[in-house]
Amino acid sequence: MKLRIVVTLKNGVLDPQGKAIQHALGSLGFDGVSDVRAGKIFELEVADSTSDKAIDSMCSKLLANTVIENYRIERI
């Protein structure tokens, strides 16, 4: 089974990297980009028998730092 884990910064957490990307888009002449938030995507190949609980633990224990990040699990 293939999983895609999307990790994004929580609302309210400042994202200096996203801000830099937003400025760079502006420099390229793309007007009207009011915000950019950078995140991460992980694609995992796991055994079909892997439980939902185990997948959730992978995210909360390692792939995301839940102090600053949210995660979303997609089955693909």
């Binding site: 200096p16 990297q17 390692l62 102090v67």
Partner: protein, 221 residues
């Protein structure tokens, strides 16, 4: 005083830390590899050094925080053994949950490597007893990810419990409330971005960092 320095792949301040500890305590530190699952007995201090453990992959300190030796470090910390995390070591401590919050990319995205003035906010801890309350000291920082973040509830708790150990005199990296170093609730775990081991003799430009190790030695002896 019996000390250990934990060495991760990518640590680069482990030897500096060991030299500082040996100069102050007169005894060589045990160098403990990240893959070990046990620590030497009867340690008086465990130091997590600066560097780029595991190449800062995933997040700074994230992989190191889950390495075999960290389980032993967490257990030792829970028994009350003093644990000092400097720079990447601070990041590892937040990733293991021994300290609250997280260290994020510096506000201006730059790597900051210079001497910075900071205030000793708590001179009562085992790590900071050599300083005067409110003393301004100068210690170098060298980091890309030293922007301390925690929610306002956690920040208020840290402040009200006297757990902010050091605060930058000026904002350098966007750190919440200019926090440079924090203690755990029990006071035996200190994480700090500045490098005290790089300021232990006149040849370093001063010895404000040495005071931390001397205070620790005096508090433990």
């Amino acid at each position: 005083m019996k000390t250990a320095v934990i060495v991760f792949p990518g640590s680069n301040c482990d030897r500096d830390m060991a030299v500082a500890l040996e100069q102050v305590t007169g005894k060589a530190s045990a160098m403990v590899w990240h893959g070990d699952s046990t620590l030497p007995d009867n340690l008086d201090l465990i130091a997590l050094p600066g560097g780029f453990s595991y190449g800062d992959y995933l997040r700074c300190g994230a992989i190191a925080g889950r390495s075999p030796v960290m389980q032993a470090v967490v257990e030792a910390a829970e028994r009350g053994v003093p644990v000092l995390g400097v720079c990447n070591g601070f990041q590892v401590l937040t990733e293991t949950g021994l300290l609250p919050g997280a260290l994020m990319r510096n506000r201006d995205l730059d790597f900051i490597c210079r001497d910075v003035p900071m205030i000793v906010e708590n001179s009562q801890s085992v790590f900071t007893s050599g300083y005067r309350q409110g003393q301004e000291i100068t210690i170098p920082v060298a980091h890309h990810d030293g922007n301390y973040f925690a929610d306002s509830e956690t920040l208020n708790m840290l402040e009200s419990e006297g757990r902010v150990a050091f605060r930058y005199s000026d904002s350098i990296n966007g750190s919440a409330r200019n926090i440079a170093g924090i203690l755990n609730m029990r006071g035996n775990v200190l994480g700090m971005m500045p490098h005290p081991e790089r300021r232990i003799e006149d040849a370093h430009g001063g010895s404000d960092g040495r005071v931390l190790f001397e205070g620790l030695l005096a508090a433990i002896a």
